[in-house]
Structure formats: structure tokens, C-alpha cells
């Protein structure tokens, strides 16, 4: 059976259950499905967040996610994966990103999902701008995201 790879950049929200269904429907060779939902949360302690605005580089965003999806497929025995990244204005409590991985075995599904999230954070061309009571500002990249992505580098 062929692997199912779905990659979408969209303004609309996603439905985790429907995406899991699309990845597993009619199949009996899948033992593990991992989903990661990244959700917009209110600020850490400080000023309350009104919303995030997600900007992306159309064309490159899809290309970069596809490259990493292909790498995940080559590194782990996956039966399929789904990446959906939202763009536009997103308020606290709303979904930002979905990564789904399906495999015969749980370790492959977990590792591929973590790999994809680490790379989305550091390598896919998306930028977050935060709006709060004081105005709006671009989110700074975090060193720990680079460190998380670096652990997947093959020596």
C-alpha cells in the first residue's frame, strides 16, 4: 500500500478527527497514529495576547514542508503523514498547526512527529506577529528550537 502524504497551508481551522480518518480509512496495516496540535496560547505571565498573525512565504513554505515530509518518510517506516499549518489571524485557544504520523509501530510515529515539529519551528518559512494591549511585535526565534532541530542532524 502506498503512503499518504498531505501538506496544506491554509487560513481555515482543521479537524483532527477528520484528518486521522483520512490517514487511516480502510487500512489495517497501521498500529500507531500520533497527532500533534499546536495551539495559540495566552501570553506567559506578562501582557495578555490578543492574537497572533501568521505570515508565510507561499510556495517555499509548501516546498520546505514537503522536503521534510519526504525526509521523514525516508527515515521512518511511515504509512502516511499530514502537516497542516494555518496562516492569518489566530486568537488564543485556536489551532495553529497539525502534524499527524501513522506507522505500524509507535516509536516511528512518535519520532517522525517530533522531527517534523522541530523542523517546522526552525526551518519552514512562517513568522508570528503578536498583538497585545501595547501594540504588535514579531516573535523572536528561540535558541532552544534550534537545539531541538539540531538533534535530528545526521552525522
Amino acid at each position: 500500500m502506498t503512503a499518504i502524504v498531505t501538506i496544506r497551508v491554509q487560513e481555515a481551522d482543521f479537524d483532527v478527527a477528520r484528518e486521522i480518518e483520512a490517514l487511516t480509512r480502510g487500512r489495517k496495516d497501521i498500529g500507531a497514529v500520533v497527532s500533534f496540535s499546536g495551539i495559540c496560547r495566552d501570553g506567559d505571565g506578562g501582557a495578555s495576547l490578543a492574537a497572533l498573525t501568521l505570515e508565510h512565504y507561499p510556495g517555499m513554505a509548501e516546498a520546505e514542508i514537503t522536503r521534510h515530509a519526504n525526509e521523514a518518510m525516508s527515515r521512518w517506516p511511515l504509512t502516511g503523514l499530514t502537516v497542516i499549518h494555518r496562516v492569518g489571524r489566530i486568537t488564543p485557544g485556536e489551532n495553529i498547526v497539525l502534524v499527524l504520523t501513522a506507522s505500524q509501530h509507535r516509536q516511528a510515529a512518535f519520532q517522525a512527529a517530533e522531527f517534523l515539529m522541530d523542523y517546522l519551528k526552525t526551518s519552514a518559512p512562517f513568522w508570528k506577529r503578536e498583538e497585545n494591549a501595547d501594540g504588535a511585535d514579531w516573535v523572536e526565534a528561540r535558541d532552544r528550537d534550534d537545539a531541538a532541530a539540531a538533534r535530528w542532524t545526521r552525522s
Binding site: E55, H56, K121, A124, W127, W138
Partner: protein, 83 residues
């Protein structure tokens, strides 16, 4: 050559894209950042910390020493914060 800008690079320059014709001695991405930074105040502001700027040629990440010859589209942007 088409150039695109994203996030605060775009905001500082004040436009999302433009077509440029750099001189022949601008050979690398790093050269191009230096040349753009001299095109006016908004450019100087956008590229004031050149080490922070990331670049892509034709939708692939590239390093500052990448050659720009043959590029159809070069993009400049801050470190990514998606996911």
C-alpha cells in the same frame, strides 16, 4: 532578478517584493545584502544586523556565501517562528 521580503524585513523596507538589477560585482547573497543596505534608509534599517537575516534562492534556504547567478527569486527574512 525578483526579490521578496518577509516579516519585519518586509515592514522595514515597506514593500513585499521588487525587481532589482545589482551590478556585476554583487556575486553572493552576502554581497547582495550589503548592496541592498546601501539603497536607502529603509534598506539600511532592514539590513542593519546582516547576520540575523536569512535568505532563500528559488525556495531553498541558502547560506550567505551562496552565488546568486541564475537565481529567479531571492527572498530575505528573519529567523522563522512557525509551528
Amino acid at each position: 532578478m525578483k526579490v521578496k521580503y518577509f516579516a519585519w524585513v518586509r515592514e522595514r523596507i515597506g514593500k513585499p517584493e521588487e525587481t532589482i538589477e545589482p551590478p556585476a560585482d554583487v556575486r553572493t547573497v552576502e554581497d547582495l545584502i550589503g548592496w541592498l543596505a546601501r539603497q536607502g534608509e529603509t534598506y539600511a534599517y532592514a539590513f542593519e544586523r546582516p547576520r540575523v537575516i536569512r535568505a532563500a534562492i528559488d525556495h531553498s534556504h541558502v547560506r550567505p556565501d551562496a552565488m546568486i547567478a541564475g537565481a529567479r527569486e531571492i527572498a530575505f527574512f528573519p529567523p522563522m517562528t512557525g509551528g
